[in-house]
Symmetry: none
Subunit: 402 residues, 2 copies
């Protein structure tokens, strides 16, 4: 639905919506395992919830499209994942709480090693420590002369990873990655991918050659590689779009970052499932919308470890009674995309969804898995349509038309 | 999905995709037959394939829309069937291997008989032989004076059918059919359907009146009727769009023509199922994508011959083991549209689809027919979305977004 139309239909009430998102939840059948991860997992509480809910299958972006975490989450929050496709640089920056402004172009920065001929010999600079990263960032700050009207900020993320922020008027994000994606060749030039980005590209190139000189005497981190250039733009907040005061409960920086982009309040420190669900309980009276993010389903899927992913799902299942005890008006359980252990990567497959409210159409689905949910009342839907449906079930949307 | 988005996600590998297309495959239940054509047919191999695949229902163009062969096939190849709707003239021309240029406006040309008052007495000129057609075409070529800057080409297709090509700068395709679609009235004027087409319409009208004079002494083919005017435009090829070297195996000219429009290599001569499947086997190592077209399902459906259509389906079923023995990475079995014997014509009904790969989500569908496939993991989808899904299953699409 057109977000403006949704905005015009909004009514305010005190209902509460919980989105419990297991990252990479969806799977496919794996040989010798008797089904998909969800089919194999013992999930009595999720199955019980499915029995009184509407179920279905979600397409995160579109048929055949394997989404990154950014688009997959934007879609869940009701933001068109293609329109709001954001660069890796922005995601990294928001993940470390960096306060972006609308004058900023950001790129992900990897420290790397080049030989005397300028060829990359290690794209990760031997995975230097975060302390070394901080030290060389400080060295860059002291030595760099950005030129008139430009501010350049470098920040450590972790190990060899950091961000580069260019701040100034009229900067553009259409800059080619300088990371050649392989070793034995020099870094690429920071070429403009649009005529309007030529000046920004030249400034990036100047910054890069200064950095090369500043870092020349470093044993490992003697160059930087940049990718995912993007200009920061304003995102309408969940409050502006849906009138929701929203809380994000996520252990991993990137998901906190995405939440912050759409104006959620972000809990600063939760590091495991127990802390996450406890935070949900403790904050339940203070917000309208709760995004609770479980990372491990995706991590174990990426590892290709079917059994470990099953175990994470089963662990989450044991928390379901605590979530239901809070009596949320709407409870959605799903994932952002599929990460089948068989593929050991994100994938294009649809993923199952449960939508519970006192007003949902109860279908015949009694098990929460990909195949059972085919029969669900929600049918096959796009993730981006989930939020309007949640708002409706929370009685937060007026009638359209007379 | 936006084709530009798909193009940007492409990766190259050596996977092979087979589209086995039974024209007019879909059906509806017919009284006394115990079901649809597919329900009645004994298809052990297709059922076995369905059991390890994702199944679903395809909508070729849109709800309630009965597609012609052109749009139905363009959709299967991932080309928006509304945007790429092509005129009958173009289809006919490509079907006879006529080398179209971007200066060409083409119409299908039927020889007809008119009486002394100019009224059509036979819209098919008594179905003259192809030899007579060739003779009168030659007569037209000798007699016609197209005027400055215009080249006019007439080509025999078969019996009373041919094509008329106007070649020149600035020609337009928005010309009304001159075929009145009934007898007892004169041919219609070649009117412009857009102001920009006025000059082209006048030139067509001039050609037509010359033809009337040239053919005046013919006993049967003494006039031509034109329909399906269209300007030829460039179609992005399967190679450009998807990076696929594609082979079309089709016995009927029109399907070879459509394949050629999207840049497939077309096998020149296969005339029955055995030859088609043999051609697939012989060429399997040399292409990435294979379009194998079975015409008879549609022909028997058009005849209203339920049992004969069932027999064709059963015959194709017997070839499935040979296709699977080739171990294609992705095997799609479906049709372009429905041609229910009960209607004896193309129809708007959805049609079942099987998508097999090592990475498909296996649903509970165990029979390949319209009703069983409702329960499939692909759900109800548009034909145009099938190609991105096939590319994903062939691991030919990168992740979208960070």
């Amino acid at each position: 639905m057109d977000p403006h139309m949704i905005s015009e239909l909004l009514v305010s009430n005190s209902t509460k919506i919980v989105f419990l998102i297991m990252d990479g939840l969806g799977g496919i059948q794996m040989e010798g395992k008797g089904g998909t991860e969800l089919q194999a997992a013992r999930t009595p509480h999720l199955d019980q919830l499915a029995e009184v809910s509407s179920c279905g299958l979600l397409d995160p972006v579109g048929p055949g499209i394997t989404p990154g975490s950014g688009p997959a989450h934007f879609a869940l929050f009701g933001y068109d994942p293609i329109q709001y496709n954001i660069g890796r640089g922005i995601l990294e920056a928001t993940g470390i709480d960096f306060p972006l402004t609308e004058k900023d172009v950001v790129a992900r920065m990897n420290f790397a090693t080049v030989d005397s001929g300028g060829k990359v010999t290690d794209r990760r600079a031997g995975r230097i420590s975060s302390e070394t990263n901080q030290r060389v960032c400080q060295k860059i700050r002291r030595g760099l002369k950005p030129g008139a009207g430009l501010e350049v900020i470098v920040e450590t993320v972790k190990e060899h990873r950091g961000i580069l922020v260019l701040r100034g008027e009229g900067l553009r994000g259409e800059i080619q990655d300088t990371d050649p994606e392989r070793e034995g060749v020099p870094p690429l030039e920071a070429r403009a991918l649009a005529p309007e980005a030529k000046e920004t590209a030249a400034r990036v190139q100047n910054v890069l050659s200064q950095m090369g000189k500043i870092l020349a005497d470093e044993p490992k981190a003697n160059m930087v590689l940049l990718r995912g250039f993007a200009k920061h733009t304003h995102y309408p907040s969940m409050k502006e779009r849906y009138g929701l005061n929203s809380l994000a409960i996520a252990a991993y920086p990137m998901y906190r970052g995405i939440s912050r982009l759409v104006g959620m309040t972000v809990l600063p420190s939760v590091s495991n499932l127990e802390e996450e669900f406890k935070a949900l309980e403790e904050n339940f009276s203070r917000y309208d919308f709760f995004f609770l993010h479980v990372k491990q389903t995706d991590s174990r899927g990426e590892d290709g470890d079917f059994d470990a992913k099953v175990a994470v799902i089963e662990e989450v299942d044991r928390y379901i009674p605590r979530v239901r005890a809070l009596k949320p008006d709407v409870l959605v359980v799903t994932g952002d995309h599929a990460t089948p252990a068989k593929l050991a990567s994100h994938s294009w497959h649809p993923l199952p969804v449960i939508l519970y409210s006192s007003y949902c159409l109860i279908d015949g689905v009694r098990q929460f898995d990909e195949v059972s949910c085919i029969q669900g009342a929600l049918g096959r839907m796009r993730s981006v349509d989930l939020m309007p449906l949640a708002l409706a079930n929370a009685r937060r949307l007026n009638k359209f038309g007379a």
